[in-house]
Subunit: 361 residues, 2 copies
Amino acid sequence: MNDDLLIMIPGPTGLPTEVREALARPQIGHRTPAFADLIADCTAGLQYVFRTRKDVLILTSSGTGGMEAAITNFLSPGDPVLAVSVGNFGERLGRIAEAFGAEVTWVTSEWGQPADVEAVRAALAGGGHKALLFTQNETSTSITNPVEELAGLAQAAGALTIVDAVSGMGGVPVLTDDWGLDVVVAGSQKTLMLPPGLAFVSVSERGWQANATATMPRFYFDLRKAQASLEKGQTPYTPNTSLIVALQASLNLIRAEGIENVWARHAECAQFIREGVAKLGLRPFGDARYASNVVTAFYPPEGVDPKAIISHLRDRHNILITGAQGAYRGKFLRIGHLGTVDRGQCARVLAALADALAAAA
Amino acid sequence: MNDDLLIMIPGPTGLPTEVREALARPQIGHRTPAFADLIADCTAGLQYVFRTRKDVLILTSSGTGGMEAAITNFLSPGDPVLAVSVGNFGERLGRIAEAFGAEVTWVTSEWGQPADVEAVRAALAGGGHKALLFTQNETSTSITNPVEELAGLAQAAGALTIVDAVSGMGGVPVLTDDWGLDVVVAGSQKTLMLPPGLAFVSVSERGWQANATATMPRFYFDLRKAQASLEKGQTPYTPNTSLIVALQASLNLIRAEGIENVWARHAECAQFIREGVAKLGLRPFGDARYASNVVTAFYPPEGVDPKAIISHLRDRHNILITGAQGAYRGKFLRIGHLGTVDRGQCARVLAALADALAAAA
């Protein structure tokens, strides 16, 4: 536990002082007028971040719990759905659908590539898909998918759009209403600058219509119950009150900065990191045209173990970066640049990276 | 948001300074050696509180999420189970089982009464029940069930014992191993003195054997995945890191005091409250022989609206107590006395209650 630790992984992110202070406040009751005001204000702030006038519900779970809610509230066992996988997290949404009995067809891209739009178009043209599942921003490969284009294909085919925006929401534009996204999931520990422990799910009218006939079993993650409770200023089950108090603090920071400025700051920092990595002679992982603005993946120099670089940054510079997951474990490195990120943090991690490369040479 | 607010509801409870300080610490990484040490120490601390050498898994959700895990990991659709309901929360465990397709038979007590042991014995004698579901401590009615006796009946009938101990764990003795409890659920926001947001589930060998063939769908709450991750010092999905840091702080407080002393403090405070309420001429709700040591329910004086008393305590004394739920809404009052509770807090709430009665007279 060191106060100077600079967390540059793709979530959890560092916490602003305002958030840390909010977390330390005394406990509040969750069935009180004060809590009703708090959750109403947080919901409005989330609608601002999601760019939606639709319902946004707050769940006490990590992002994966929100993803489960996004599946089980809108689908029935046996429903044919199309899952787009471009990495570890894209795969998760489809795996949840499978676990609850959906008939999942996969359109899988090689890691480092975005969604194969033509393959999605062709698969949807076959007809009958109840939903299209995909990741907005794939942290495992540092790729941002063409969300608007994919949503357009789903709408044309009459399929629901269910989007995992856990890692990118707030850092990379997600225009929920303009793009007609039916169900969008975000999490607290990314651009929202909070500890993990809350998930947020937006639901369109089309989503609620699907919910009316969806029969997958659900209880804790029942969004209709969450919506009914929200109208009374409550949650169906005891929420993480402290984290919701801190959510208000973080949403206030985002509203004060302006969401467009938050997006611009992420874009600027991402470019700074990408250029810095290139200047160090390191090769990026993934298709540069779809490079994420919240995480950058790159190969270590030939013959250098990524673990040695991660350890050097952690032990000598007190900076946390991370490696690759799944089948690519040990193959490349990832730097997260989201949440409180600024040029100073980016310069610090690049300087440390240069030192690690010198040490490894 | 007032620093002097005294929370005397049956959870969330007030937070010790050590917990508030822990919550305010900078963020940590959740796939690091430091986190592995942290979760190992917390698991050992939870085993101490649960009085078990079995697995105890940490979930990022509120207690109800832990209850869902306790059902879906051990049962299959169509399984006949016996659910004992003595109030709002006893009913919840059975409702979850129903939502996921179990064939639930109910043994329901009138509110204020404990489990009907003879009816449970008779129902189990019919045979074939896969599990017995019940609440250890029913906060909605301030009743503690005869847990050991119920567990013995389940064992004799070859049924799993699935216990919701969310509100009582730590405050009222639960001897998980000695009593042969298979699956026990607890939550962070009660006697563990943390904000809501973590659930804890212990699993016996018999529980794991049942898990091997249980087919209810699960993903976020998959306990087998949680156990496999824990062996690597991790969790399957991003955990609420801040709350786990705070959990270590609260477990350290409990270990320093000694669990037997924590139980004794709760028993002493409960008696102080019960006697104080009686001295004020108020009639207790519920069977006194099974009165809970973490919450006390009592009727207001004839003709006095419980809401007026709750408001008086909140607005004039900055103390939060609560009313009754469900069908008993508006009928009685409840004072929670758990977590950081001491005689000073109890004296303060009783003095405020006396003032409220004088004001209402």
